[in-house]
Symmetry: D2
Subunit: 121 residues, 4 copies
C-alpha cells in the first residue's frame, strides 16, 4: 500500500498501529467505545493549546518550535485513535471522507459559477 | 481527484477539501482555533453514539445500517476537520503519525524479544 | 442550601435528578464512565454554538432569543450530568470548587497589592 | 464569602471566581467562546481518567485516594468554567437546570402512575 517515495501511506500506518497494539495485548482495551473516548480526549488536548489565543495568535502557533511540536504530536494522536477506531469497526476512512465530500458538494452547491463571483455560504 | 486506482488518496482529499472551502469563501472562518473546536465537536458526536452502550454493544454498532452510516459519517467529519487544520498550519499528518509511532515503539518496548515471542511489527 | 425563596437549590436539584433517573430505571446506564462521556458531549454541544463565531460575536449570543435558549439549555445539560456524576461517586461539587479556588489563590498570588496596580499574570 | 454555615453557596463561589479573574485582569481572555472551550477541555480531562476502565472499574475510582483527588479536582474545574461562562453571559445555571428538569418530566413521562408505583418526585 505504500506508494513509492519516502512518504508513509495511511493504510500502512493503520497496520503498524494494529500490530503495535496487538503486540502489547492492548486489544481488550480497544473497544470502539474506549477508542472514541480517547479520540475525543486527544482532540481536546489540541483545543487546549488554542483555548486562550486570539484568532490571529492561533494562526501563528507553528512559529514557536515547542508549540509546533506539541501541535504536531496531538495531530498524530488524533489520527492514531481515528485509525484504530476504524480498524476495529472495519471502516475505510478515506472512502468515508470521499463520500462525505461528494454529499457536501450536493448540499452546499456553488450559487453561481459566474466569473469573479463564486461565493458559497 | 483520486490518483490511479479506485482508492482515494489522503493528500488528494485534503486538496479537495481546501478547494471546497476556498470556493465558498470559508477561509476566514477556518482559523486553526475554529477548526480544532470543530474537530473536537465532531469527535464528541462520535462519542455520543456510544455513550450509553456497554463495551459489547459498542463492538456491534456496524450491524445496524442506520448506526453504521452515522458512525461512518462522523469519521469522515473528524478526518475532514483534521485535514483542514493540517492544511492551514502546514502540518503533514502522515509524517506526524509515523514519527509518533516511532517514538511510541521506543517508549513502550516489548517486554522481551525472544524468538517466536515478539508479536509486533 | 437556600430553601425558602423562589430560588432553586443545587442540592435539591441534584436530588430531583437522582429521583428522575431512578424512577425511569436509568441507573444501570449511569456509570461514572458513561456520565462523564455524556458531560463531555454536552460541553461540546455548547462549543458547537460558538465554533465559527468571532470573540466579539460570541459575546453577543444572548441577544438572539433562539440562541439564548439553546445556550441556556446546554448549560442545564452540562450541570445536570455534572451533578449526576457527583451523585454516583459521592462528590460534593461545591466543596470541591471551594477547595480549588483556595488552592488557586495560592498558586496564582496577586503580585502586589499596591493601589492602582493589582495585575495578575 | 460563604453564607452562614460551613457550606459554600453556588452564587458565592461564582462571585469569588469573578473577583479572582478580575483581580488578575483575565477578563479579556474570558470570552464566552474561550470559556466554553476551556469547559470542554476540563470535561475531557475527566473522560481521560475513565477512558480505559471497564464500567465496573469506573464505579470504584474513589477508593484510590490519588484518583479520587484527581476526579474531584476536575469536577471543580468543570464547575468553575461553567460558572464563569454563566457569569459573562448573565445565565442563571440553577434556574436553567430547574426549567430543564421540568421540561424533561414532560418529555419522559413515567409509563404509569399507579399508586405505590410512581417512584419519581
Amino acid at each position: 500500500m505504500t506508494t513509492d517515495s519516502e512518504h508513509p501511506d495511511l493504510a500502512a500506518l493503520q497496520r503498524r498501529l494494529a500490530a503495535f497494539a496487538a503486540a502489547r495485548n492492548w486489544q481488550p482495551y480497544h473497544t470502539p467505545k474506549n477508542l472514541v473516548a480517547a479520540l475525543s480526549v486527544e482532540a481536546s488536548e489540541l483545543v487546549e493549546i488554542f483555548q486562550w489565543l486570539t484568532p490571529e495568535e492561533s494562526a501563528g502557533v507553528m512559529s514557536d518550535p515547542g508549540t509546533a511540536h506539541r501541535v504536531t504530536d496531538e495531530v498524530a494522536d488524533v489520527l492514531a485513535y481515528l485509525l484504530q477506531f476504524c480498524e476495529v469497526l472495519g471502516i475505510d476512512p478515506l472512502a468515508a471522507l470521499e463520500a462525505k465530500i461528494d454529499r457536501n458538494e450536493f448540499r452546499f452547491p456553488l450559487p453561481q459559477e459566474e466569473p469573479g463571483e463564486g461565493r458559497g455560504e
